[in-house]
């Protein structure tokens, strides 16, 4: 029990469960999931599907933040990926064919890969601070997306493309499966190989890791490319779900939601440590919060106030000052009971 409460993901998990509980109280049928039209149906499934884009962006963001960086450009990349994919499908004579959709997705991923490499170049080679290096693409990126769509909202009529964001596979939302696969692959790659440790070492001290033989520059470069790739997939999911590329609104402020998800999940912006489980919970908290506000019948715009309150609470609970207080109290209680006092690192 004690190790549980000390775990980094304990408070985020409590917050998520509390949010779900509020929903159950407000709507007793909230947790119900039933089969309808050959796939699962219910609020939880909605949450699963709507969390996917934020989760994808947040996975990439987690690794970037672990290197003590930040990627503000992901929202713009979401818009660019959607714009590139949708304009291609819309211009094609056969929008429904698999080859058209695959080529469109391929180009969108490639474009974002290049832009991610650009971010990585600015940060790792030129040595610009991440926040400002990615601010450049955040500012210019939506302009580029509008350039691609010609300032129009490009709608596509392709059942295949729509199925990526809105379809179901094996009774589950396709988008959730995609996000799940990316999460699992990232977890395997970072936790079953040395990559995760290397990323963390770069976050703690890039110079020291370089001297220790870690190729810090390549690692930093890689995480920005990876983050852009995640954003591109999220952009495809979002544009497919609404079957349109809206350069102004697709993925608007998703970078902030993703950063929040990462921070709520216990990954510090100071880098050097990351938790993909925490990010998963953080992403769910953000989406569940949105659903909760709607199901309580509060105006959706006021959602921001609740988001702020949750962020403030989670940050306060995780802050060193409060953690020290907790620890001190725990130690006092332990001493009263005559237990051996653990040395807390």
């Amino acid at each position: 029990m004690r190790s549980l409460t000390r775990s980094k993901v304990f408070w985020p998990l409590v917050a998520l469960v509390a949010l779900l509980a509020v929903n159950v109280v407000a709507r007793p049928g909230f947790l119900g999931v039933r089969m309808q039209d050959g796939h699962l149906y219910g609020s939880l499934i909605d949450i699963l599907r709507n969390t996917s884009p934020i989760l994808l962006v947040a996975i990439g963001m987690t690794l970037v933040i672990a290197t003590r960086g930040i990627d503000l450009s992901v929202g713009a990349l979401v818009a660019i990926a959607g714009a590139v994919a949708c304009t291609q499908i819309a211009a094609s004579p056969t929008p429904g064919s698999a080859s058209t959709v695959l080529i469109a997705i391929g180009t969108a991923l490639l474009v974002c890969l290049v832009l991610g490499a650009w971010n990585g170049f600015l940060v790792s080679v030129v040595g610009i601070q991440p926040i400002i290096a990615t601010l450049i693409l955040m500012t210019a990126g939506r302009g580029i997306a509008m350039l691609v769509t010609g300032g129009q909202i490009t709608t596509v009529n392709s059942p295949l493309y729509k199925s990526i964001g809105a379809g179901f596979l094996l009774t589950l939302p396709v988008s959730a499966i995609i996000a799940g696969v990316v999460l699992a692959a990232t977890a395997l790659l970072t936790r079953r190989t040395a990559l995760g440790t290397l990323v963390e070492s770069v976050g703690i001290n890039p110079e020291a890791s370089r001297l220790a033989g870690v190729r810090a520059r390549s690692i930093i470069w890689t995480v920005y490319v990876f983050s852009a790739l995640c954003a591109a997939i999220a952009g495809i999911l979002i544009s497919s779900n609404v079957t349109a590329a809206d350069a102004n609104n697709n993925g608007l402020w998703i970078e902030l939601d993703a950063i929040l998800a990462v921070v709520i999940g216990g990954t510090s912006l100071m880098g050097g440590k990351f938790s993909l489980t925490g990010t998963l919970i953080g992403a769910f908290i953000i989406e569940t919060l949105r659903i909760t506000v709607i199901s309580l019948g509060i105006a959706p715009e006021v959602n921001l106030v609740f988001k702020a309150v949750v962020v403030i609470l989670v940050c306060l609970l995780q802050s060193p000052v409060v953690q020290r207080k907790f620890r001190a109290r725990r130690r006092a209680v332990a001493q009263e009971h005559g237990e051996a006092v653990e040395v807390v690192a």
Binding site: Q129, A208, L269, M270, G272, A299, P320
Partner: protein
């Protein structure tokens, strides 16, 4: 982790200290000035009437609120922080101004209340950052969500301002010098709005505070190296909270100016304007790591952004998204330039 940070800070610091010649000190501001002149030359060769004195004055009138925001942002960035809540706090200020005026408050108490609101937000954010050690990015992000959400709580619709004092201020023009005669024989004057004077006074006060007071020197010292500043016995904690109070109050003043300019309060006012302010500060030559930069540079940065917008609106056929791309490109140029300056000074 703190130790490594201090070390990293120290190496860049010594390198920056070496370049103390005036050119090195004011090089970044000079670069901004050159850019501004260049942008103006481009504009004036392409369009007749671009160099008209009123076009230049309009830059100040249209961007008065942004100038004030950029001043606040400069303080925060000089300490190595960032304030993402400025646009939202500005919007909340316009909403509160409009709501209180509709409720029948007199203009004086309304202005005081709005300034107090900015102050409260600043203190809250500052304490959050200082006492609970939350990163400025996250703390001000939370404040941004809170302020923006509160805007909708005040009213989801646009509230118009009909208070005679605000209306008269918004319509008053301060004549500067005669520029010609109109067709009906009246003399035309180049003019500015009262908000421009407010903005310029704030720039002057900020420059004085940063360079002639203990608080200002502490701001630079924290941005230079927080560890050293603490060891020197400077009031780091107090100053760190105070810079967010400065940015909060600047947001509130920006909101008052904007409310006067648009004669309304609207919840979606100034979405993303904090990014414009950050861009202006960076283009103005302030290092985002803190410790180096001038408010006058931020003022020039705002003018550069404003001029680009004017050019693109003069062009007519150019679509609005080019503004974003040009500003992004300009940011890139300046950031790379700063980087090169630092590298050159180190060697």
């Amino acid at each position: 982790m703190a130790a490594t940070e201090v070390q990293a800070g120290a190496t860049t610091r010594t390198s920056r200290m070496r370049g103390t010649s005036p050119l090195a000190r004011y090089g970044s501001v000079l670069a901004t000035l050159v850019t501004l002149v260049l942008v103006f030359v481009i504009g004036s060769t392409r369009y007749t009437g671009f160099l008209d004195s009123q076009t230049i004055l309009n830059l100040f009138i249209d961007n008065a609120f942004l100038i004030v925001l950029a001043v606040g942002m400069t303080f925060v960035i000089l300490t190595g922080g960032i304030d993402l809540s400025m646009g939202a706090v500005m919007a909340l200020s316009t909403m509160v101004t409009a709501r209180l005026l509709i409720a029948g408050w007199a203009p004086g108490p309304v202005i005081a209340a709005v300034l107090l609101l900015g102050c409260v937000f600043g203190v809250g954010v500052g304490l959050f950052i200082r006492v609970f050690e939350v990163q400025p990015f996250i703390a001000t992000l939370a404040a941004m969500f809170l302020a923006r959400g509160l805007c909708f709580v005040v009213s989801p619709n646009s509230l118009s301002i009909t208070d005679p004092f605000f209306v008269s201020l918004s319509q008053s023009r301060i004549r500067l010098w005669p520029t010609g005669t109109a067709f009906d024989g009246r003399t035309l004057y180049a003019f500015i709005s009262p908000s421009v004077i407010v903005a310029l006074v704030i720039v002057a006060i900020a420059a004085w505070v940063l360079h002639a007071t203990r608080f200002g020197r502490t701001v630079y010292a924290i941005g230079g190296n927080q560890g050293s500043a603490e060891l020197m016995g400077l009031p780091v904690a107090r100053t760190q909270v105070l810079v967010y109070v400065v940015s909060g109050v600047c947001s509130a003043i920006g909101g008052l100016i904007f409310a006067m300019y648009s004669l309304s309060g609207y919840a979606l006012t100034g979405v993303g304007v904090e990014l414009d302010a950050i861009s202006a500060v960076v283009i103005g030559g302030t290092l985002l790591t803190g410790g180096s930069g001038f408010v006058i540079g931020s003022l020039l940065g705002v003018l550069v952004l404003g001029t680009i917008q004017t050019i693109i609106s003069f062009e007519g056929t150019l679509s609005s998204w080019w503004t974003k791309i040009v500003i992004g490109a300009l940011l890139l140029v300046f950031v790379v330039l700063q980087r090169l300056l630092i590298i050159r000074r180190r060697t």
